[in-house]
């Protein structure tokens, strides 16, 4: 289904469904997670995109937001996850348009779970600010961010894990990795943990680096051109995000789209 209206209210059905956003205007998406739903959201064109999703008790929502807009899109996203509900959000950002994204996930009820992941392959500006807040006991907030920054690309990631006072037994873990092929190294990751309770588990890991010259030499010595090495290394870097998705259909879409785009961008 193609979304062209300014405001749309959705209660995704159980199982898989997909929507395309294709408009010059701004779009506001009001989502209610009620069942066990897998949603594929493809942004072909839009100005600003606002997503407000509320997951009801014990609901399960897996959302893949695939942005293939050629122009700049601002995303403002709020997710509220209630008791025992489970949210998976994955972002695919491998197209030419600039992206500015602010995502706020709040785990409101006991036992709530959220996993936010992103795969970025860029020759342009991609800015992210993702906050996952545990605001109830025994909740789990995870983040996995993988990015490959090609020549001319710029990547900014603020990854914030918050556990509020009283949210005992909660977990907040995040991993962010960025691989730069550009000598300028325009990549920045700021991992943050803001913890206000004692009985919690939290961790962050961030790595940011250029491709190792020795690795490149090793691969080239087997006959691969620099572009082919870039493609193989990028595939290796971004594919782990596919495994964060459970739904086989969404997995397949993400894997195929990533492979196609990597092959295209890295052969330039």
């Amino acid at each position: 289904m193609v979304i062209t209206e300014k405001v749309i209210t959705l209660i995704p059905e159980a199982g898989y469904s997909s929507y395309d956003i294709d408009t010059e205007e701004s779009v506001s998406l009001q989502l209610t997670g009620r069942y066990d739903s897998d949603l594929f959201l493809r942004i072909r064109k839009a100005a600003d995109v606002t997503i407000h999703a509320a997951l009801e008790e014990s609901a399960k929502l897996t959302l893949l937001v695939w942005n293939e807009a050629g122009s700049e899109v601002h995303f403002d996203e709020i997710y509220e996850v209630n008791r025992n509900a489970s949210l998976h959000v994955s972002y695919g950002e491998v197209f030419q348009g600039k992206t500015v994204r602010c995502t706020k996930v709040t785990l409101l009820g006991e036992g709530a779970f959220a996993d936010v992941s992103s795969a970025v392959l860029t020759q342009t500006d991609k800015q992210f600010e993702i906050t996952v807040t545990s605001d109830a006991p025994n909740t789990t907030g995870l983040m996995h961010n993988y990015s490959v920054v090609l020549a001319g690309g710029k990547y900014d990631m603020d990854a914030v894990g918050v556990i509020t006072k009283g949210s005992h037994g909660s977990q907040s873990h995040q991993t962010s990795r960025s691989l730069c092929f550009d000598a300028e190294m325009n990549s920045r990751i700021i991992p943050k943990l803001i913890i206000d309770d004692n009985d919690v588990q939290a961790s962050h890991a961030a790595s940011l680096g250029r491709v190792d010259e020795e690795q490149l030499y090793y691969m080239q010595s087997r006959g691969l051109s620099e572009q082919q090495c870039t493609a193989l290394l990028s595939t290796g870097y971004l594919m782990p995000i596919v495994d964060t998705i459970e739904n086989e259909e969404l997995k397949g879409i993400l894997r195929a789209e990533l492979e196609e785009k990597i092959a295209e961008l890295c052969s330039i």
């Binding site: 690795q215 010595s221 087997r222 193989l232």
Partner: protein
Amino acid sequence: MNTLKIENLHVSVEDKEILSGVDLTVNAGEIHAVMGPNGNGKSTLLAAIMGHPKYTVTEGSIYYNDQDVLAMSVDQRSRAGLFLAMQYPQEIPGVTNSDFLRAAMNARRETPVSLFTFIKAMEKTINDLEMKEDLAHRFLNEGFSGGEKKRNEIVQMEMLKPSLSMLDEVDSGLDVDAIRIVGNAIKKLREETNMSIIVVSHYERFLDLIEPQFTHVLVNGKIVMEGDASLARKIDTEGYDWIYKELDIVPAAQEEKKRASVSLGACAVNRAVK
């Protein structure tokens, strides 16, 4: 066809000259052993032929099949038929052995290798090198033991079928059984393809398996002595001292050792004074 011709090769690393005029000709199907004490330029020679970016050729030429190797990029050299089994193979996390090898095979073919042909060839090679079956799905050299990495170099060689293979101490880190497996695989591949080999090794056992017909001794960045297989055997039993005496030379590594012992002595004196 398939002749490697090196003339007056000078190679520097960070402005320090390592090779000072090497001449070497390897004809199709020939097996050459390059011997010499550590730190005298054996690995540098092989790396310079392959095109490692750290090594700068300041003078001389390398031709393979009448093509100017020095004008070629590393990947072009590989596609021209050169292969270097490295002393320290790199670990590449995220890239599986099978994806890597398939890409490398396709890089030298007009039409891509079919999945079926590739899997069959991979299975056979893994079997030949007696490696674990999950090799294809593991990330390239990541978490491999030293011996597994060396065997994986030979897996790649067998899959890519180069016309000239350079083996840089590929036997170090291998136990007796693994040396036999690797040696036999190389020998078999040579019988099939008539590839030429330049081998750097300190072990007679390995050289016995590879059977080099020519031996070159590299000291201080120059080939100081050349001979047939008997020279390699003589070095194995008698070492290099007789060569140093005969030619009145001191190898680079020994000079460094002398300098090092001076500073150690100075430290010991300092400690004694305190």
